[in-house]
């Protein structure tokens, strides 16, 4: 092997990267996490702006409709409210042990993370 070939081979060895590099892998993950955060924030900001724009555009019309609806229900309002409260009480009082929501029962798995 000539001197030039030896120098070239030394250069390839010197410029090689380690076969495993945790610091590099972590740096990549950090960039990915940062990108995910940016995408998430951009999505939330976009959704918020869209909601505000929708309110600005459709808000007055919705308010007018809601006002008309409330006005039409005005006389029946107290009766409907009383019926709703009575209905909720009846449902609560007529429950049997078998109707109890399964989420209230301890299944022995322990605490749940999700809802």
């Amino acid at each position: 092997m000539s001197e030039a070939e030896t120098r070239l081979a030394d250069f390839w060895t010197a410029t090689d990267a380690p076969s495993r590099d945790l610091a590099f892998a972590l740096a990549v993950e950090e960039r990915i996490a940062r990108r995910l955060m940016v995408v998430d924030v951009a999505g939330r900001v976009g959704a918020g702006l869209a909601a505000i724009a929708a309110l600005v555009v459709f808000g007055p019309a919705l308010l007018a409709r809601a006002g008309a609806l409330v006005g039409s229900l005005d006389p029946a309002g107290p009766v409907l409210a009383a019926a709703a409260v009575l209905g909720a009480m009846m449902i609560r009082l007529t429950r049997t042990p078998g109707d109890v929501w399964s989420g209230d029962v301890d299944d022995g798995v322990g605490s749940r993370i999700g809802p």
């Binding site: 000539s2 001197e3 030039a4 030394d10 250069f11 380690p18 892998a25 990549v28 993950e29 960039r31």
Partner: protein, 175 residues
Amino acid sequence: MNLSPSDDELVAAARRGSHGAFREIVGRHQQAVRAFLRRTLAEPADADDLAQETFLAAWTGLWRYRRQASLRSWLCAIAWRKRLTFDRSRRRDRLRLAALEPPAHADVCPDRRLDVGAALATLPEAQRAAVALCLGGEFSHAEAAETLGLPLGTIKSHVERGRAKLLAVLGGPDE
């Protein structure tokens, strides 16, 4: 018996959202990508920065990966495009600086036996990349062709001519 998943299996898992699978892809191919960039860039820090950018781009564009190319070639192709973009922005910066500073004489070397990195820098971009991949990175000519998006014959001649030129420059007056 080899129990480690193949690249295609890792890609499929990463596409389904497995961070562990993508971590394994990074671990498996970071050496090839970083070495390739280190051999085509002057600064190792720039090379590692671009390598990280490469994996970020791979993560966002994983759905574009097709099995025709090896995962290593696909990643190095992304690295190569990143490097070309980096070069263009560097050139713009240098032009801006040149207006402020006196011209440097980097091409004048009192010793004819140039440093290997400087010798590599004398090669045209594509030739340098082909040499770095095939001689330094042990890529096959076909893989290098996939990576650089060049015909196989062009890669072969780039490697041959690049190697001859490098050896001539490194050998100096003795060769």
